[in-house]
């Protein structure tokens, strides 16, 4: 009971005079004095050290992952060198390993996903932050959150039994007829293939791009919107000049973060991309991605060279996603740092 009351007291927002810095920051002189008083200093030191070790274990984990990947891919790293990433022959029987078809598949399917997902997610974010009636905002946000909570394997299941037949029967024939001249929509129409992988990836990365875009749009100060409106702008002009222009770096960050997710996505892609290590221009053609070749062939990799080749693909994927994520984080931080308090 006693504790409950105390807790309630702690949680009550205290009236703070305007201009007071937020609670985080340098501990005050009083607190420093109290911390250095000496009693239970031993227990406090131990506690701090345990917390420090936990935090350091995150470094250890990432370092372990990196060293394991490098050590276990030594065979192909030495045998093929940098040529591993430019060779397009993948023949485990004769020991020929080139990762180009997988890199191509990963890049192409992620690119298709971005082309579909970026306009849609920005549209959704614009609608949610600037246009949506208040009563609709929370349910819609919840729905998109749910989209993020669906496991990859369930997306894959849905794609195999609903999306692929839909593409094969209705969408692909139309695309072939209208855009077949471009060379991107030709060839036999299996349903599975690059296009199916791109579409399911787009559905999967939509929530992450749109929720981050929303975040950076909310971070744009209201004064910006009011200023543009006061000059006589229409709502769209206000969104374009007042909001999107100010949030653009953050939106690029959100898109890159979505790209990072798409590059590493495994299960859903494996189930619909077709799993054929070939480089084809047509989006109808089956392909293969870096993540799906690992998922499919890792357990049947019989000799050390084969295993090493797959682990090297994993290493490449690891490094690429680190770089992509780092860039995206820096961009998002650059925008949301120092953002005004979010007004719901």
């Amino acid at each position: 009971m006693d504790i409950k009351i105390q807790e309630a007291a702690f949680n009550r927002p205290r009236p703070s005079p305007a201009g007071t810095p937020p609670p985080s920051g340098e501990p005050s002189a009083v607190r420093k004095f109290l911390l250095n008083r000496g009693t239970s200093a031993g227990a406090d030191k131990t506690f701090a050290i345990v917390m420090l070790i936990s935090a350091l274990s995150i470094f250890a984990i990432v370092a372990l992952i990196a060293t394991e990947l490098v050590l276990r891919s030594q065979l192909t790293l030495h045998k093929f060198g940098i040529g591993f990433f430019f060779g397009s022959a993948w023949d485990p029987v004769t020991g020929q390993f080139g990762a180009l078809p997988f890199i191509y598949g990963t890049l192409l399917s992620s690119f298709v996903a971005l082309v579909i997902a970026v306009p849609l997610s920005i549209g959704l974010a614009v609608f949610l932050t600037e246009m949506c009636p208040r009563w609709l905002r929370s349910p819609l946000a919840f729905l998109t959150e749910l989209l993020a909570a669906i496991p990859s394997v369930v997306y894959g299941l849905w794609a195999v039994f609903v999306l692929v037949p839909l593409l094969r029967e209705h969408v692909n024939p139309v695309l072939g007829k209208t855009l077949g001249w471009s060379g991107f929509f030709t060839g036999p129409n299996y349903g599975i293939g690059m296009l199916a992988a791109g579409v399911i990836l787009a559905i999967m990365i939509l929530p992450i791009i749109s929720s981050l875009t929303r975040e950076v749009m909310i971070a744009v100060p209201h004064a910006q919107r009011e200023a543009v409106l006061a000059l006589g702008a229409t709502r769209w002009e206000m969104i374009r000049m007042g909001v999107l222009r100010n949030a653009r770096i953050g939106i690029v960050g959100a898109i890159i973060l979505g790209l990072g997710r798409a590059l590493g996505e495994t299960m859903a892609v494996t189930m619909v991309i077709g799993n054929r290590p070939e480089i084809a221009k047509s989006l109808f053609a089956p392909g293969y991605s870096m993540a799906s070749v690992i998922a499919n062939e890792f357990s049947e990799a019989s000799d050390d060279l084969y295993l090493s080749a797959l682990i090297e693909i994993g290493l490449a994927l690891f490094l690429v996603t680190i770089v992509v994520n780092a860039i995206a984080r820096l961009l998002v931080w650059a925008v949301t740092r120092g953002a005004p308090v979010q007004v719901a």
Partner: protein, 294 residues
């Protein structure tokens, strides 16, 4: 009554264009919202329709049948998922919360804290399949056999970054005066962190843990080469074990209609479990903010 000056006429036609553009883009934003919501509704409806029609008591009580024999369930996979998640949580939750405490209470603003934060973000971005082969190389290869333990470790590692970051963020919202009040009453610093600061921030921290839990509950890729899957009952941490997402994957890519039905039923169960935990998160989080406002 002279004719309207050219400047005004121009501006009127200009304003018509602007109005049209405004309506056009409003329409586009609404259209994209519909296009985003449509597949979600489609997935859920189809899942409910397919899953509910294949769901029965046997699904929760029986283990998988051999190919060709009808019936069977995923009881062992549901249990396996529970065991894997328990092992994962035992690893991920304490390490995640402790790292969060370090970032918020001890390392605030230091270069080390920034580095930890950045590394946690990197870890968050590591593709799950890469996590799978790393844990395979770390644990399965030296042990020379697949095991439930290695699967749990893979899931646990994936939980750490989310929990660390939410814990840190939630602790940062606790006012310094609360910490000073505790210290002023003579509470040791470690005790003040654990029973005062952490407790005050607990709704948010629980939210973070549940989100991390919901995220790894559906993971398949890290389990492919660690927990591996098992068609029989197993509760031994040193043996391969079945997991719900893994079983769904195996059944989904099989050529048998009967197994496809089981895959749908399994997906429905998995989604319901995840949605329940997400809804719980929202409930806990909203209760937390309510408490703070009264």
């Amino acid at each position: 009554m002279a004719t309207t000056p050219a400047v005004y006429r121009n501006s009127r036609s200009n304003s018509v264009t602007r109005m049209v553009t405004d309506h056009l883009f409003t329409g586009l934003a609404i259209l994209s919202t519909v296009l985003v919501v449509a597949p979600l509704v489609a997935i859920f409806c189809y899942l409910l329709y397919k899953g509910a029609s294949s769901l029965n008591l046997a699904f929760f009580t029986q283990i998988p049948q051999p190919v060709g024999e009808p019936g069977g369930g995923m009881a062992n996979a549901i249990f396996g998922s529970g065991l894997l998640l328990a092992v994962g949580s035992l690893l991920g939750v304490p390490v995640g919360i402790a790292s969060g405490i370090f970032l918020a209470e001890f390392g605030r603003g230091s270069a080390l804290a920034n580095a930890v934060r950045f590394t946690a973000d990197v870890l968050n971005g590591v593709p799950s399949i890469v996590m799978g082969i790393s844990v395979y190389a770390l644990i399965v290869l030296p042990q020379k056999h697949f095991s439930a333990f290695s699967g749990g470790v893979a899931l646990g590692i994936m939980m750490i970054p989310t929990i660390t970051r939410t814990t840190e963020e939630m602790l940062a919202t606790v006012p310094n005066a609360v910490r000073e009040a505790a210290l002023g009453l003579g509470v040791p610093a470690w005790r003040s962190v654990l029973s005062i600061t952490l407790r005050t921030a607990s709704p948010g921290i629980i939210t973070g843990c549940m989100l991390a839990f919901a995220r790894v509950a559906g993971e398949t890729a890290p389990l492919l080469f660690t927990a591996f899957g098992n068609n029989f009952w197993s509760h031994n941490l040193n043996e391969p074990i079945a997991a719900l997402p893994l079983q769904i994957y195996i059944y989904a890519i099989s050529p048998y209609d009967d197994w496809h039905r089981l895959a749908w039923a399994g997906s429905l169960v998995l989604i319901v479990l995840i949605v329940i935990s997400v809804a719980l998160v929202r409930f806990v989080a909203s209760r937390g903010t309510l408490k703070a406002n009264n």
